[in-house]
Amino acid sequence: MSAQAPTIKDLGSSLPDAIRRFTPPPRFYPVLATIALFIGMFGAGSIRYEGFSSPQTILSVLVDNSFLIVLAVGMTFVILTGGIDLSVGSVVALSTMIAASTLRSGWSAPLVIVTVLLTGSVLGLLMGLVIHYFEIQPFIVTLAGMFLARGLCYVISLESIPIKNGTFTSFASGTIEIGDYFITPSVVVALVVLVIAAVVLHMTRFGRTVYAVGGSEQSALLMGLAVAGTKVGVYVISGFCSALAGLLFSIYTLSGYNLGAVGMELDAIAAVVIGGTLLTGGSGLVLGSAVGVLVLGLIQSFISFDGTLSSWWTKITIGVLLLAFVLIQRLFTRRTT
């Protein structure tokens, strides 16, 4: 490894040579591809549209997609173990409904936040337990979870509920200025979640077990790893992240809406795939998922900057990108196996 890594002296003497010789670890290839795509898109946008090249474009993408980053982080854990969580969009909607209705009936903001996060985690826990102990496919269990959460939204209220709580509105209108540019507190929350997730995945026993279970559950079991706890744990994490994303979403929209976040699970899955995580599990980085979200967000920016492109090009582009990354993954896995 040390022979491959360029030293600073190399870089100084012959930069092109050093770049040519530099080979990052293979596990970073997919993420690098995503980052390259993001930079390429940003460059193309900067050339085509006036004002696109401002850093605020990227920061705005972060502002508008902070909840999706949190969601994609949770989804990454699940997909790394080879599972899938279809319930996240509905859990986001349920969280906004719980937050809005409890705030309306006068609960204090901290209590509401704890309640929402607990609800999401408990839902995740239940799904994880059923998936692991009854050996039912994650797809169908989380489908049930999706129906359940959506149904509960309607039990809470048939109409959307506005949020007028002071803590929530001040959080929503708050901005953090960085030089001439700004982000919102939600972005900070999303980035903190991202960092925590990366630390958990790469520096804890739980994180290593997540990768091991995704690589081969059988082997992980034979190695004596805590497969049961890990498999259930990732759904708890995903449920928690969905609830947190729901809180961010309720702050973003300042309402609880039972038809909100329909299809958001697909955006989250698409972001994870575009971020280079293998859907069969065992390989991928949360950083990739975050960049995947940025790529999705940048497509939206393209369309709003252009003005002549219709909104449906977003969906078509996401589909095409999804296909491209799935095909690349396929080639990649075929070569290694």
Partner: protein
């Protein structure tokens, strides 16, 4: 006598059928004339006919989905394919000078189903030739498909004025709604093709072990490819029914969540998501059950939107009933005592 009863209870269609019957009877308590059918202008009307007619699109897609699931696959793109099919038909008719003639409607519908079949070829190619996981391969079209449908209709809700096209969903032949007849015809053809030829067995073989069946001389790749084309064909027809029902193509709302209902119908019918054995009759009952549930909830005075909650309960119960682990945990006493009774009688 007991033996017969036991065999009845243990039949794999017993529980779905019982659930459907109970649900229908529940309706009877609220609406006493629930089962009554009346003939008006030579057409059959009644709640049961309504349920059958409204379940036709789901049933069609669920039939295709049954075969896909039997090969251990899944197709998430069916709703998008249905939307595209409706969009193609309506846009073509709305764009032609003689919009309301029967000829146009026939060309439009043929085109729509043709496009749907092409999309199925695409899905099948990704799954069977490139070897991409079915859930992801079809996710591509699920995401892009709605965009394509909007591209075709230019984001508008395209309305058409064509009597023949309208009849696909609302018309009657020999007293029965055409939608029901189409769905039942596809059901019958599928049943004959899979159960009177070796095709059904081959599909099950591919689902149980694709590699082993390939080594045994089954053309696993062709069979997998075919089922995806078939489900897209069914979705295309279902899309026409949905569009015909309102005489309009709504790229956003047409067939939304129908993939989930179709999968649910298949699962309720007793076909395992793990592939292998499948039951077309089970799927028929499953599709009817979902539609009956959707009808029952408002009848009971519960808001129709809470439908999701009941569906969630159904999914959980059905999955637990199917899971060998859950069965072992739940029914330690019951089946063994039943078996013992059966053995002594």
């Amino acid at each position: 006598m007991r033996d017969l009863g036991l065999r009845f209870v243990r039949h794999n269609l017993f529980w779905p059928t019982l659930a459907l019957v109970l649900l229908l009877l529940l309706n009877l308590t609220k609406t006493p004339d629930f089962f009554s059918l009346r003939v008006q202008d030579g057409h059959l009307y009644g709640s049961l006919i309504d349920i059958l007619r409204n379940s036709a699109p789901t049933l069609l897609i669920a039939l295709g989905m049954t075969l896909v699931i039997a090969t251990r696959g899944i197709d998430l793109s069916v709703g998008a394919v249905a939307a595209i099919s409706g969009a193609v038909a309506c846009t073509y008719m709305a764009g032609s000078p003689d919009e309301s003639t029967a000829g146009r409607a026939i060309i439009a519908m043929t085109m729509a189903v043709g496009v749907a079949v092409l999309l199925g070829v695409w899905n099948g190619f990704l799954v069977s030739v490139l070897g991409i996981q079915p859930i992801i391969a079809t996710l591509v079209l699920m995401t892009a498909g709605r965009g394509l449908a909007m591209l075709i209709t230019d984001g508008q809700i395209t309305t058409v004025n064509n009597s023949l096209f309208g009849k696909v969903s609302t018309g009657f032949v020999v007293g029965l709604p055409i939608a029901i007849l189409i769905a039942l015809a596809v059901f019958a053809i599928t049943a004959v093709l899979t159960r009177r030829t070796a095709l059904g067995m081959l599909i099950e073989a591919v689902g149980i072990n694709p590699e082993a069946s390939r080594l045994a001389g089954v053309r696993a790749r062709t069979i997998t490819w075919t089922v995806y084309v078939f489900v897209a064909f069914c979705s295309g027809i279902a899309g026409l029914m949905i569009a015909s029902n309102t005489s309009a193509a709504d790229a956003n709302a047409a067939g939304l969540f129908i993939e989930l209902d179709a999968i649910l119908a298949v699962v309720i019918g007793g076909t395992s998501l793990a592939g292998g054995r499948f039951s077309l009759t089970g799927t028929l009952i499953g599709a009817m059950f979902i539609q009956t549930l959707a009808t029952t909830i408002p009848t009971m005075g519960i808001p129709a939107e809470t439908n999701y909650l009941f569906k969630a309960v159904v999914v959980i119960v059905v999955c637990l009933l199917q899971s060998p682990k859950a069965r072992a945990a739940l029914s330690v006493r019951r089946p063994s005592s039943l078996l013992a009774k059966g053995a002594t009688s």
